[in-house]
Symmetry: C2
Subunit: 328 residues, 2 copies
């Protein structure tokens, strides 16, 4: 029997989860819950229903795992604890600084309901975190580096769009090659914000807007751009549609460390991602961890978990025997 | 209280384990067991003893984990099941094709004794295996690639040393840049043995040996060299000592896959290692998994495990709370 999945929220992430489920024969999408009018939401999976989130309690016995596809700012802090009272859940909560609070809230709810919850699943937090923990455990005398990009930052793109005179904008975060090279060479550099990443903006202006003024507003924006070297390109709406419609991202996690009685040997562990679609990759990780959540629940393991707590084998549809023979 | 560690076998790997323990304040080396005369073995840790392996049973209650540092060909198939009857054990058994048999033998022994055993720990099998399982689970529609090097292959170096006229030899395995580039470009190539790796040999000849004949013998050696493009350099003993005394290694695991309803988005996951010392890095992984073995044993989880079965958090000395706040 397949693992029966529900999705809450049908944006880029929810749609990505739907696509990922279709690649996993042991899983089945049963329902997409939406806050919109269900009749206005067209999904890709013929066999699944679209229902109002108001009816979600009716599905309590009909789903194995609910994948929460809302945003970290306002949706997940409410939704994950709330729905962990009814379902085994997985989310991609990615506000790093607030993870301890989110964990506490979800842990309390899931422990009370006897459900299994997995939070902060994706690539950062998620796969990058895994590489940080493995790197730290193996090379305790070493240094961590995380670089993001080249990829679209939604938050920075939104910030540019809020500037008067800007009709549309996309912002790319770009790791500085020189900094990466220095880490790879084992130099253990201390890098400032400016030395690690540059920012590149593609902007469509409103008619009559002042280029120089917009560029100045971007480059001096506190927190978002002031601490970075930023390049601004003004382009047409057509160019925006043609060249910037995808949501690529990626990045690098490096652990540089030493071993030996005299620390005489250097080692570099490097993990990198090059993603055509940030939300679809995140969704693919969510679906693998939905499988893990289901398995944990079957073993009676309840409460809130993160990627740190879950044995890798739980992500795979293969048996232990198959895994040892084929992937070890 | 520290985790009390014993080492069996004091070659490159055992010495590497000793060095790694010194970097982990929650662990303590208590004893090195040797098949040699213990008085002939000088170790680095003042507070640890060197004992004959004949006395190992006397240590049954005095160690938390025994790390087995023998070879995969003849030592570990015997030692790991044998000592899993007395201790929680960790080994680096790396003959991929024989892992299922080794697992079965160790599982039987550890289940019977109620001990915890972790086998096939290191980087391949080990960290590379982890990256294969995560990559496969996240991108089920994709392809795996593993490249090794640039690094010293002990087996190939030994094979060259056995050729008449060869006094000393080191063999480096080198990934072919063009093949790596093609994988990174998302081309999903089917690669032959020759297309993936080249081999480079540095050879010191005995006086009067025939260069051409030795070179021919190397390049045509079945299994080891015949299927590869091999370069042979003849060097002096001094050059060998000066330029080839280290045991570097490394490699790459890549997972290239697609997502999206129409498989329209490509993704590349790449993990790589650049290691100054192959045995010391392997040892560092062994020590992290010794911590995991200890923790599993404390929870009463017995039997044979691999890296696939162990939650990443078990490798780290930090608490779940610290990990979520600092590395997630």
């Amino acid at each position: 029997m397949s693992i029966r999945i529900g999705i809450l929220g049908y944006g880029n992430l929810g749609r990505g989860v739907e696509c990922a489920i279709a690649q996993n024969p042991d899983m089945e999408l049963r329902v997409v819950f939406t806050r919109r009018n269900p009749e206005s939401v067209k999904i890709l999976t013929d066999s699944a229903e679209v229902c109002s989130v108001e009816t979600i309690e009716d599905w309590k016995e009909l789903l194995d795992v609910l994948i929460l596809c809302g945003g970290s700012a306002t949706d997940l802090p409410v939704q994950t604890p709330k729905y962990a009272e009814l379902f085994h859940v997985v989310d991609s909560f990615d506000t790093h600084a607030k993870i301890p609070d989110h964990f506490a809230a979800v842990e309390a709810a899931a422990k009370k309901s006897g459900k299994t919850a997995v939070i902060s699943v994706g690539w950062d937090p998620g796969m990058f975190s895994l590489n940080r923990i493995y790197g730290n455990a193996i090379l305790p005398q070493g240094k961590d580096y995380t670089f993001w990009g080249r990829g679209v930052s939604q938050g920075h793109s939104d910030a540019v769009r809020r500037i008067p005179g800007v009709k549309d904008a996309k912002q790319y975060t770009i790791p500085v090659e020189k900094a990466l090279a220095s880490v790879r060479a084992g130099k253990n550099p201390d890098l400032t914000t400016r030395e690690k990443h540059t920012r590149e903006c593609f902007v469509v202006l409103e008619d009559g807007a002042d280029k120089a003024k917009v560029e100045e507003s971007i480059k001096t924006m506190p927190n978002y751009f002031a601490d970075y070297d930023t390049t601004v390109h003004f382009i047409t709406e057509e160019e925006m549609a043609r060249d910037h419609s995808r949501i690529p991202h990626g990045g690098f996690v490096l652990r540089s460390g030493v071993t030996g009685w005299q620390k005489e040997n250097q080692h570099l562990i490097e993990y990198s991602l090059k993603l055509d679609s940030n939300p679809e990759f995140t969704s693919s990780v969510l679906v693998a961890y939905a499988r893990a959540a289901y398995r944990l629940s079957q073993e009676g393991i309840t409460g809130c978990k993160t990627v740190f707590d879950i044995p890798p084998a739980y992500l795979s549809p293969k048996s232990g025997e198959e895994l040892r023979a084929s992937l070890l």
